[in-house]
Amino acid sequence: MKVSENLPRSPLGFLRWFCKKELIDEIEGDLIEVYRERFERNPRKAKFKLWKEVLQSFNRRNIGIMEKYQNWHVVAGLSMIKQYARVLFRTARKHKVYTSISVASLTLGITCASLIHLYIQKETNFDRIYTNADQIFRINHKSKTSGRSYAYAPLPMTPHLIESSEAVIDGTRIFKYRRASPITVVKSKRSFNEPRLGWADANFFEMFDLPIVNGNEKGLLDRPNTIVLSQTTAKKYFGEEDPVGQMIEFGSAEKHKLEVVGVFEDFPTNTSFQFDLIAGIETCSRIMWSSNHLNSWRNMFVSAYVMVKPGREKEALDQIQTATTTYFDAESTSTWEASLQPLTDIHLGEAMDIGEWSSHNDEETLILMGVIGIIILCLGCFNFTNMITAQAGQRTKEVGVRKVLGSHRRNIAQQTIFETLTFVVISGLLSVLFIYLLLPKLGDLTSHTYLMEEILKPEFYLPFLAILVAVIAISGAYPALYISRIGSIQLMKQSSSEGGSSIRNILVTAQFTITTALIISTGIVYLQLQYLKNKKLGFDDSVIVSMPIHNDEAVIPKINTFRNELTSYAGISGITAASHEMLTDYTYITQFDIEGIEAENLWERYTVEQDYISTFDLEIVAGRAFDSNIQSDSTAFILNESAVQAINLTPQEAIGKTITDISLEKKGKIVGVVKDFHFRSLHHDIAPFVMYVNWDRLDYISARLATDNFQENIDHLEDTWIKVFGEGVPFFFSYLDQQAAAMYLKEDNEMQLFSIFSFISIVLGALGLFGFVLFTTERKFKEIGLRKVLGASSWQVIGLINQNFIRILIISSIIASPITFFLMSKWLKDFAYRIDQPIWVYLVTVLIIFMIATITVSRTTWKAASSNPVDAIKNE
């Protein structure tokens, strides 16, 4: 029979391993017979059923593993381990509470610390996926006049360096348009608004070697009018079809055809480059800029990266500085200082004032996270060590009996180590399970994706192994070394050991200090966040929607028609257009000259339409708003209070002065001053700000909608949009209040993390305290009994048990408060607008901790206090 070779090996091997010898023939023979019968019908099902039946056979009646190893103990000391295991199970069962507290604490500690470790690893490996990451630098520039730093280099810089510098191997530029770009798929006629479109040099993918999954590796963007897509985007556009060779269109009214020439693997979450589409920068120049733009040194608004030969960074920087001084300073009103920033330093290092478009994180936050991780791990280990040593202290009698019966000191040490090891291994395995379950949640919180494989790398698990070995050593060492040394008679006389109680006090105090600090911090972060979210921005953001129009020349002339169409509609109370979307972090800064003022004013400016002020409901403090009926208002300017203050004028004095935007050569009179309002997020102070109607570009239309029949209003807006601008201009909109909320996403996530951490540390603290009080009570059981016999009331007994832990709580709040105050003041400094730390948060926290602690211990104390003293005393 030829099937015989095809019998599945693993289930039968397993069967043969565990099965009693005398049963193998019958069981295996029967299973093989039916397996063959089933195999004829359905091989896969047959195999599955075989496995199922083997596992069903794995029962008490059939298992004969132990007989197999019966004679081994002489060789392997197996019977000793068997004996250890038996004692372990008995102890674990007897001290169920202690055992579960220690395992739960350690599991919690390891799980949290691992998750934090994973996150920190992701962050510190930022931008390191590229082969030459260590040799790649970003060119930054700093204006000596304004002190502002830019993450940009003049456009001709990299070609110039590649040609003239020996130290520079390669260089590439990438431009990210700060607004979403309209893209239409030609074949399906579907439109998308793509916020992550980049324009790069053809060698971009050679320097940043992301895998290309479809298309040629080399010279991907060499040809003009080509574009490459990320895998996800390609799928979104073309489904299962081959994207290479397909056409897409860029632009809304004036459309430019681009050919898809390749697909790159999605950028991982931990890199500065987050693009879904990348097209050639020359194509960009042709579509959006003038013909000579790429060669003009005065253009500095694009990031440039260079790959430098190892050790020759200084030389490269000198050459860059020379080029900047020679070519760029000549075109600029300022002098500039160039610098090279390592690619791997961009995410965590110093952030430039202008031109950062990737996510940024502080090293400090990571250090704080790391410290919290270590603290939680320590809390877990404290609990574990506490419980194990407390338990060991109660087992002195057992050890005494063992010694009398001839146990060697080494056996006793071995046994305690064996027990600790077992618990640690169990906690480790449970942690792996929890990590697996929690990885997606961690991904949501930190906007990264995590894979389970990452915890299998030695650099990940080795530190944990080291810590666990330390935990085993510390928790095992005390009983192993201390108890095993004491003479057996002494051990048996002593009812329980007092050893380690001062260490235990210190550990519990440390735990509560940390818990208190974390809860207070959570409270303050929460209050600050509420403050930010509820702070008046200076304008009404409730129901404003903004729609991108990308300075589209086909749209702008029709804005008036659009507005007129909507004036008769009651659900929409205002329509206006401007160069900016309110609350975006991107700004234009230009230089303004004011009649009679000797100062170089680098101010933010928006170019707006006349009804901007009424639509956003901005408050005028002097002069008036723009008025379309006044002819001269076509060149009028309006300043905010901060701008007026910056030039030492009162709002009234400023009215009527002549002002010039030097950079854009626009000149006019100041007609009004608006009250300060927040045009950027509250991380920033309100800066001087200028609005004028003589616009150079309009990128957004904003509309104020009535809240009643909201959906109807949106629908009407869209219908009118299509009617006026036509189907070719896609309608997209976003809510301003949602955008305002999104600005604090980072703080929101911090808040969540803080709450999780404080919750965990409360749980750990409570577990620790519970065990601690349980231990104290059990030790004082006889004392309590005697006191009660001598007339103590239940309440006096409760006071006796609790005085120790109340002392601990008081000490820990006294230590925690000043430390937290200091740390939180530091955190709050990041915000231009912040709360004062309220004292009540501190008081409430202490109260909460007292309550949790009291609830935790109440059952144990009450049981001890109300117990019958006879039980305690007779128990000798």
């Binding site: 019998l7 023939d25 019958e26 023979g29 029967d30 299973l31 063959r36 199922k52």
Partner: protein, 102 residues
């Protein structure tokens, strides 16, 4: 004695010399049109053997079983008297049940 045990012992008795786990399972499936797993039959047979209702003997190894021996089961006298007692009990009860069609 459970219904499954009774069924198995009856099938074993009916099959005379050819009763072993696989053939019993087949017969069971044929008669009741219910699937049953081999380990389940094993468990029942071992239980019956421990109670002395069946006895077993080994046969020669065969190729379709991968060279493994069969264990054949036969009903014992005490097994036979048990099932016939069961049958008598049932028939007595049946005689008391009035005819449903009336």
């Amino acid at each position: 004695m459970g219904a499954l045990e009774e069924m198995v012992i009856l099938i074993a008795a009916a099959m005379k010399d050819e009763a072993y786990a696989v053939s019993i399972a087949r017969e069971y499936t044929r008669r009741t049109s219910q699937e049953i797993s081999i380990p389940a039959i094993h468990t029942v047979l071992k239980r019956l053997e421990a109670k002395g209702f069946v006895k077993s003997s080994e046969s020669a190894p065969t190729a379709e079983r991968g060279g493994r021996k069969k264990r054949l089961y036969q009903i014992t006298t005490s097994g036979y008297s048990l099932v016939s007692d069961l049958r008598n009990q049932r028939e007595e009860l049946w005689s008391l049940i009035p005819d449903m069609s009336i």
